[in-house]
Amino acid sequence: MISHAECPPPTEETIPAPSSLAMGQMGMWLFLGTEVMFFTALLATYLILRFSVAGPDGSGWPNPSQTHMNAWIGLGNTGLLLLSSVMVSLAVRALGQGSDGSATKALWLAIALGAGFLGVKAYEYHGKYEHRLLPGRIGEVFPEGSTISRRYDEGPGLPWLESIKPGLEATVGHEYRLILGKEKAAVPANPAQMLDSVRRNPGKSMAYDLLLALDKSEATPSMAARSVFQTSESIRFANQHADKEDRHQEDDLKTPTALPHGNLWASCYFALTGLHGVHLVIGLVVLGIPATLGVVGRLRPDSLPYLTNAALYWHFVDLVWIIIFPLLYLL
């Protein structure tokens, strides 16, 4: 029996002691909780999209040399943000100790570091712009309503596809010729059995079909490509066999034409860094208020709750970057 009858009289524990500081911080923590969900969803989207097209070895996803991603720049930026977080912590401690002057200095340092981060980011964005690594611009959208096939009919996809052929040959070429009877095996093999085993291996089956198509229409990889690129799995597979360096030659022209999934990469890159950047700008404004107050000499210890919350937010933005950085630059 669950008893609800008479409850005991209120004790000290049940009487809450409301204080605006606690409430403010609670609100802040709750807000950060929602922010955690926000970035979780964003990062999950990125990972899902990325790994739905990329293989476990990362192939299929534009590599850093294609996208001009420099891990060192990212690392430097991480350092900037970490330092600024330290500064914000120092500011909170200083204000807690009643030293508003050093708090102000620390705050301005933090702001400068944050702005430095944004400056580096702007430099990076500029590079992306220069190389047309922008969503909707990377060789995957053509004027005049062309279709995907055109990309492989006329674009630089062709040499790439040609370069797949040795890879295909290496994977199933022998089996392929044996099954078709183009080659005689030393030991008599059962073509039906072999075909069956090829079919059971998805990668092999894809390679088999691609070879079949290339064979059927000898020098017409466009048809094969058009069909094979309908499934992301096959793109991944084709990418495994493509010579990445060859495609990279295009970079000198600053026109990254058909860069498979470059569009998706750019979408993810700009969404992640852009939304993080927006948070950072908000953070700068939030920190800028007490910093300005400090300059005019009106930063009082009673701003401590505000500053604590602002610092929480800033640390959070920092933390998000620490997660974004390896996922975007190193993975």
């Binding site: 029996m1 669950i2 008893s3 609800h4 009858a5 075909l195 079919r199 059971r200 998805p202 089956s205 894809m206 088999y208 079909d209 079949l212 198509a213 048809m223 094969a224 058009r226 069909s227 094979v228 309908q230 499934t231 992301s232 799995e233 096959s234």
Partner: protein, 349 residues
């Protein structure tokens, strides 16, 4: 839905079934649609007026609504406004599950409504005061465990059907896991949804079955046979359909097969249809089985109507396919089109 004298034609069942004897309707929908809501409103008004005097009349309102629902359900089931005719083995299994759930939920519904109405009819507790009861552990345990047991039963009993439905094409949804020819089909076609029609492309039987239907689905061949909005197969055929779309999400819905599958842009989704019944009668007449789109695809979403024809045997189907092929490869105008055919309707005028 057409009542003629004492016999009733019921559509939705195989063909048009004549049910002899008294009409199974207590009222005729098509004619009652306009006055019945008013009549029901009137009854509600009466209930309200009576309740001004006798507050227990509210039980009648609840009871009346309950009766109305039971009546509707039974009427619909009897008059053919129910599950469409089933045309595949899986459809029969689905119907079985449906009726199982229907029975269980009906029992629960009647039970809860019964209790509710019963409590409304109860006289006030002695002394005008209800007992101050806060709960009952045993009772709560019972009504926690019983539904849990039933629900777990429902969860388990459906698993084989689901596996059969979707597992016919193992790993169909993961291109990586797709096993090209592990389950040979008799007939291969792609169904491409576009705003707003279904374009069917049948694999030519003259050509060997492709190693990988996914591959074939993406590359049209000169030999393929095209049709619009018409899905043809024969009774007992295993039909592999490669579902694709060129623009937005459509959903390929075959009510008689209890089949529904969204078409996702950018993906080719294989599905297997194991036909079990034909919609062509012995005398050659055809019962209409339709294709509908079940996912909003724009303003003309409702226009994506197609039809399914399950021929009685493969020969009949091949006749159709060959006709289709012949008309597709006409090198001169067919005799039928020259001169202008006389519309049949005109004969009567």
């Amino acid at each position: 839905m057409i009542t003629e004298g004492t016999s009733t034609k019921v559509s939705g069942l195989p063909g048009t079934v004549e049910i002899a004897g008294a009409p199974p309707y207590l009222f005729e929908w098509s004619e009652s649609a306009h006055w019945l809501p008013l009549a029901i409103t009137g009854l509600a008004l009466i209930a309200w007026i009576v309740s001004l005097r006798f507050k227990r009349a509210w039980a009648a309102l609840f009871g009346f609504t309950l009766a109305l629902m039971a009546l509707w359900t039974l009427q619909s089931a009897r008059s053919g406004l129910w599950l469409p005719e089933s045309a595949s083995l899986i459809a029969d299994e689905v119907d079985g599950l449906f009726h199982l759930v229907m029975a269980l939920t009906s029992i629960f519904y009647l039970l809860t409504q019964g209790v509710l109405i019963w409590t409304l009819l109860q006289p006030a507790p002695p002394g005008g005061r209800a007992a101050r009861v806060h709960g009952n552990h045993l009772l709560e345990l019972v009504w926690f465990t019983v539904p849990t047991g039933l629900l777990v039963y429902i969860a388990l009993v459906q698993l084989p059907t689901w596996a059969k439905m979707k597992g016919q094409v193992p790993g169909a949804y993961l291109a990586a896991g797709y096993q090209p020819a592990s389950d040979p089909a008799d007939l291969l076609l792609t169904v491409t949804g576009r705003q707003w029609e279904w374009r069917m492309r049948y694999h030519s039987p003259d050509q060997p079955m492709p190693v990988n239907p996914l591959f074939w689905a993406a590359t049209p061949a000169a030999e393929d046979i095209h049709a619009v909005n018409e899905l043809h197969a024969w009774q007992g055929a295993k039909v592999r359909m490669m579902l694709r779309t060129t623009d937005v999400i459509h959903s390929f819905f075959l009510p008689q097969f209890r089949f529904k599958q969204d078409m996702l842009p950018g993906k080719t989704i294989p599905a297997l249809l194991h036909t079990d019944r034909s919609n062509i009668e012995a005398d050659g007449t055809e019962r209409v089985w339709e294709i509908a789109c079940a996912e909003l695809c724009g303003g003309n979403h409702y226009r994506m109507r197609g039809k399914v024809v399950i021929h009685r045997d493969k020969k009949e189907f091949m006749d159709w396919l060959n006709r289709q092929k012949a008309s597709q490869s006409e090198r001169k105008e067919s005799a039928a089109a020259l001169p202008t055919p006389k519309p049949e309707a005109r004969e009567n005028q």
